[in-house]
Symmetry: C2
Subunit: 278 residues, 2 copies
DNA sequence: AACCGTTGATTGATATCCAATCTTGTGGTT
DNA sequence: AACCACAAGATTGGATATCAATCAACGGTT
């Protein structure tokens, strides 16, 4: 078993990926130490890990916050992601064996079935996982970790943007990339990867001001089922401060289903995919 | 300015890059806390940062050690480095302006002059810096950080290998890469980058058993400026206040001053090139 | 020499305390 | 009412002391 700070860092990472902790959210040491029932120092170590991963930023004497990347940084992250996946594509086109191609095709097929059966949430997850499977086939753990870190950071962006374009035409990209690569048309495959990611970034309009829909205690509750006191939660939930405006903003406080690791928007909009390349 | 744990992590990183702390070296909490005159907790936080960076590994209940990558991991690191630099090359061939090409040429020229004047140490540093300059011109800070981290990890490898081949034919690679890229011969440039790195890895024979030539206290002494005060200089250049250096070893370890992949380059000391792509 | 238990050292973690800094709220002034 | 100064409170960064668990080395026994 790894250290407790690592465990807590993992939980916080999970919560951020699930959009239960949104960019800008304050991660107070005392608050988290009470939530996780550990000392402040363990929390601090966890926050250092998160900051090293680019998911949090620590301001001296002010504390830690969930990272809030700028538009510039968002583009850089996607550029890096494109660069990595193009490079992996080039490697795979040379070195991947039949079993590898089969695995890619199988994954695409599973996603296709999910879409066909209307299971948008599953399709969403599979769509995200495709990129990880892709990189995993390079059999380079160092590269995998770099890629995974970049992907985690893209999840931050999805809280900050208003994705207002159609993702349907992206759904086939994975299949087409596999086709092109297996046929040796590397250049076209790489261009498609670039287009794939650029289409996502183009849809980004980072004008959204995010605010916490729930306190960290509420956000983290689903992950604490293990041992800590899930029954007694005497931590009074306070309303997120509205910073001056009389809370006149007409936002809907939707509490995501607790144990569901797949963030999905409600049926109000048809657009289930909130931004990651499907 | 920044936290003390960050300052200490920086110093430890510097010492590892300078090969004053070699792979496998134990990084005891109490020992380091006495060396830096801080509490164990601050040391622990610094070690967490190092581990996240891949420069140290922490084993539960056994402590932290300078990371000792396997041959497999070494190849993965160089593969990743190749992938990143090839990708950056592709970007630069499209987007780099005249000023960028000029900077690259200027850097190559400086290295050429250093070689011509017999200043091997300076040539060494410039040769290593070329790769960082190259990536910096992509103007992607995220990519820069990924690249810098990979480069740091390659320095670990140079302690573990016996480089027994000729590096002379690599000295011109940088110049040739710039030439090829500026002429739009991207494919050839990328192949050269691959060859460049492969030549290095091929020379690796990781059979060396490294042993610490000095204790951490001796290894870190040059970085301990008057006090652990971070306000003055995050990384203090050499200051041989090292007291009793009577460590029996005939090795002369001198610190290479360097701060950021930014401007300047003040080289100083002599250190044999043990394998980084020149 | 091989085996096994004890002892010491080190790590992981907590609680408590303190200084520095940031935030907030209050009150006086214009 | 708006505005500034200042004190009070809260939070962070860090130090110290302490404790249990684990690991490693040592020494005794067979």
């Amino acid at each position: 078993m790894s250290s407790r700070s690592q465990t807590i860092a993992d939980i916080l990472t999970r919560a951020i990926i699930d959009h239960r902790l949104v960019p800008g959210c304050k991660l107070g040491e005392r608050e988290l130490s009470e939530i996780f029932d550990v000392s402040r120092i363990v929390v601090r170590q966890a926050l250092i890990r998160l900051a090293d991963d680019g998911l949090a930023q620590i301001e001296r004497n002010r504390g830690a916050f969930v990272a809030k990347p700028s538009m510039q940084e968002a583009m850089e992250i996607y550029d890096a992601l494109t660069l990595v996946e193009q490079g992996v594509a080039a490697q795979l086109s040379d070195r991947l064996g039949p079993a590898g191609w089969a695995e890619l095709r199988q994954h695409v097929e599973r996603q296709r079935q999910a879409v066909a059966s209307g299971n948008d949430a599953l399709a969403d997850v599979l769509g995200q996982e495709f990129h990880s499977v892709f990189v995993r086939l390079s059999r380079n753990k160092v590269m995998q970790e770099i890629h995974a870190q970049l992907v985690r950071r893209t999840t931050l962006l999805r809280s900050l943007i208003t994705a207002d374009f159609d993702y349907c035409n992206l759904l086939d990209d994975h299949s087409r990339v596999v086709d092109l690569l297996e046929k040796g048309r590397l250049k076209q495959a790489m261009d498609l990867i670039d287009t794939h990611h650029r289409a996502v970034v183009r849809g980004y309009i980072m004008d959204r001001e995010v605010y916490a829909e729930m306190t960290p205690a509420e956000a983290l509750a689903p992950y604490l089922d293990g041992k800590t006191d899930s029954a007694t939660a005497p931590i009074a939930p306070r309303k997120p401060k509205t910073s001056g405006n009389g809370d006149g903003t007409a936002h809907v406080h939707v509490h995501l289903p607790k144990q569901d690791p797949a963030p999905k928007s409600r049926a109000s909009t048809k657009k289930t995919n909130r931004g990651l390349p499907a």
